[in-house]
């Protein structure tokens, strides 16, 4: 089961190491991880996606919770949260018409296009993993020279008593 875990942690050195080391030492799997500071400079949010069965997932959450540097651990419901990933792909341009085709595809997928050159082009997309995978499939034919993914970033919908 693919799951998104949102973890608030102390924003200090060594915390990312503790989290990733916990996954390593307990033989859990990290699919993606993204980290950034929150509105409170003392707190960072880590968004971790993982492939685990229900029992393992419950252990992951409890073990994360047990770490002293974690302040809040939440399992996000895919339907009740917004989650996105930013991806950049550098594609190969083999013939001049490629540029037009790729730009059209990019528009259809609401991508930004950067660094258009004779031999390569970079497209940038922020979307759910499904859409990203669909786009990747479509542009594969041109040749993906390089790709960078940020990992999932997510927030639960609504706030407080609304839920």
């Amino acid at each position: 089961m693919w799951s998104i875990i949102s973890v608030l942690v102390e924003n200090k050195p060594g915390v990312l190491f503790k989290i990733t080391n916990l996954f390593r030492s307990r033989n859990y799997n990290i699919d993606s991880i993204s980290v950034g500071v929150t509105e409170n400079p003392e707190v960072s949010r880590m968004t971790i996606t993982t492939e685990a069965d229900e029992k393992q997932l419950s252990q992951i959450i409890k073990q994360l919770d047990k770490l002293i540097d974690t302040l809040e651990v939440k399992l996000l419901d895919e339907k009740k949260s917004i989650y996105r990933e930013l991806v950049m792909m550098k594609l190969k341009i083999s013939k001049p018409t490629d540029i037009k085709e790729i730009t059209d595809l990019a528009n259809a997928f609401k991508c930004d296009v950067h660094d258009v050159r004779k031999s390569s082009i970079i497209i940038e997309i922020t979307a759910t993993p499904d859409r990203i995978n669909a786009l990747e499939d479509l542009v594969k034919g041109y040749g993906i020279l390089e790709m960078a993914r940020t990992g999932i970033c997510a927030l639960a919908r609504g706030y407080g008593i609304e839920d």
Partner: protein, 552 residues
């Protein structure tokens, strides 16, 4: 040092080196007693033994690099058995960190998976708060080891220092109040069970829930089995006691555990060594699990009712509920009868190893002559499992062993730490020579620091447990187990200025223990036993408790 004194520290175990000299210079001026060890690993085990017995964090010091890596085993041992410890290491000066300096090791990185928490203060004025937090974290909730790694310049520099009177750590909530409704449901489940059993783990000892546990067992007339770590959480001479379950559990304990339909597990993590295969254990068994650590719930066993919180508090609430409901059972039912019959049968009919110094005879003699309030530690190996089988703990909370990590060499230094915590009672390490070998240089500490402990050495001249597995599972292909009667442990004891006694009959063993207690000096009692004796019963690894192999 002042910060340590403020935490009530009066003794610390350690060994100085380049990177912790400034700490030692302050130690020179302080009232804290320093116990100089011969190897840092022993310092960590001493702090561990001190911590388990006093239930206050034991403190050990080591220098950077190899000093720090030498205590890694001790930290891992304390973590596996939830023992409170504060380990303080020196580190190379902060400007040298990351430059592969002489005696630099990334001890924070190395110990990450085996500490409860680790600090590396980078300015002197952080130290008081760090020390306060370290003791708080080590001792509260589920206890464990905390590391403080202090760069040499941070030890040296002077600063205006404020000592905090309390600390708050927002991500740390060690105590949760147990949920009353859950305890009510647990009580109902226990009362409606036909074949209930109590499984007491190490958590009962850590939280001193002895009286509460005994009340529940006696009110409901429920038999009590323990894990090996929980050995001695319930008096083993009590009629309701069946002893430890597990790989080398008592036959009656394993048997009744597999027949029970409901278990009240208190402060136990259902280790594989205790329960055998996880799937088989939970079959046809309702599990009530009380534990202070929420992450233990459902980790190894599917729980029917979970009670998260201090075991002592939870059990006390349960006792109150039972008293309010005026429940007092007399034990006249089919299950109680079955339990008694099984216990009597196995206690009378299990075959004893036919050697004049069979482990069972030796350890029963030890029990006879050793006062009940004495503290007993063990090393790791066959002798440890024989202690589990044949040495009854009468006074709760007087038996300690490296049960989780299974660290050979733990028992002797831990006994020294225990004796430092409780100087008024005899402290004895039930040892095997393979394990004792690993930290025997602590004899110097026991003698010179006048912390006398007794090493009760079941000497079979082999790494006996490994030999048993080679006999059982590897078709008697014996390799790497023969210790060939070297060294002579009486002479070793004498070389360190300790008392060495060789005891070759049951009678001599009794007298030797009495002599050791009376003389109150460090003593090694060397007992040559039969190298061929196996530890039985035996639940082979990867099998379930019902597949227990009995002596034949």
């Amino acid at each position: 040092m002042i910060a340590l004194e403020k935490e009530g520290v009066d003794i610390a175990f350690g060994l100085p080196g380049g990177a912790n000299l400034p700490i030692y210079d302050e130690l020179y001026k302080s009232n804290i007693r320093h116990v100089l060890v011969r190897h840092e690993q022993s310092a960590s085990h001493m702090a561990d033994g001190f911590g388990r017995v006093s239930r206050r964090p034991g403190v050990c010091f080591a220098t950077s690099g190899p000093g720090a890596t030498n205590i890694v085993t001790g930290i891992a041992t304390a973590q596996a058995d939830s023992a409170p410890m504060v380990a303080i290491t020196g580190q190379v000066p902060s400007k040298m960190i990351g430059r592969d300096a002489f005696q630099e090791s990334d001890i924070i990185g190395i110990t990450n998976p085996i500490v409860k928490y680790a600090f590396q203060p980078m300015t002197p004025n952080e130290i008081p708060e760090v020390v306060k937090k370290a003791f708080y974290i080590a001792a509260t909730g589920r206890p464990g080891p905390v590391l403080i790694d202090i760069p040499k310049d941070v030890q040296q520099n002077e600063a205006e220092i404020q000592f905090p009177s309390e600390v708050k750590i927002r991500g740390y909530h060690p105590w949760v109040d147990p949920d009353i409704t859950q305890i009510e449901r647990a009580t109902e489940m226990l009362l409606s069970a036909e074949r209930p059993i109590i499984l007491a783990g190490g958590g009962v000892i850590i939280s001193s829930a002895f009286a509460e546990l005994q009340s529940i067992a006696e009110l409901l007339m429920i038999p009590v089995v323990t894990t090996f770590k929980g050995k001695g959480s319930f008096p083993e001479n009590h009629p309701l006691s069946l002893g430890p379950i597990g790989m080398h559990g008592h036959a009656e304990a394993n048997k009744m555990m597999t027949e029970a339909d409901c278990v009240l597990a208190c402060g136990s993590r259902f280790s594989d060594r205790s329960v055998g295969t996880f799937e088989e254990f939970e079959k046809n068994l309702k599990i009530i699990h009380m534990d202070v650590d929420p992450a233990e719930i459902g980790k190894n066993q599917t729980t029917n009712i979970a009670v998260v919180g201090d075991v002592k508090t939870s059990l006390r609430i349960m006792v109150k509920m039972l008293i309010q409901k005026a429940i007092k059972r007399n034990g006249e039912n089919a299950w109680a009868k079955r339990v008694k019959e099984t216990k009597d049968y196995y206690r009378e009919n299990l075959k004893i190893h036919p050697h004049p110094l069979a482990a069972s005879k030796v350890l029963k003699k030890l029990r006879e002559v050793l006062p009940a309030q004495s503290i007993v530690t063990t090393e790791v190996g066959q002798h440890q499992m024989w202690a589990s089988l044949f040495f009854d703990v009468i006074h709760p909370g007087t038996f300690f062993s490296s049960t989780g990590l299974g660290t050979m060499g733990w028992g002797f230094p831990a006994a020294i730490g225990a004796k430092a915590a409780k100087p008024d009672v005899p402290v004895l390490d039930i040892a095997g020579e393979g394990s004792f070998n690993m930290t025997e240089n602590s004899l110097a500490v026991s003698v010179l620091e006048d912390i006398p402990v007794i090493v009760f050495l079941l000497n079979n001249f082999t790494l006996g447990m490994v030999a048993q597995w080679q006999r059982t599972f590897y078709d008697r292909r014996m390799i790497g187990v023969d210790l060939k009667n070297c060294p002579d442990y009486v002479k070793v004891a004498e070389a360190y200025g300790a008392q060495g006694i060789r005891a070759q009959t049951i009678d001599e063993i009794g007298k030797a223990v009495q002599t050791a207690i009376k003389s109150n000096v460090a003593t090694v009692i060397d007992i040559p036993i039969d190298p061929q004796e196996d530890v039985l019963p035996f639940v082979a690894p990867g099998t379930s408790l019902k597949d227990m192999i009995l002596p034949s």
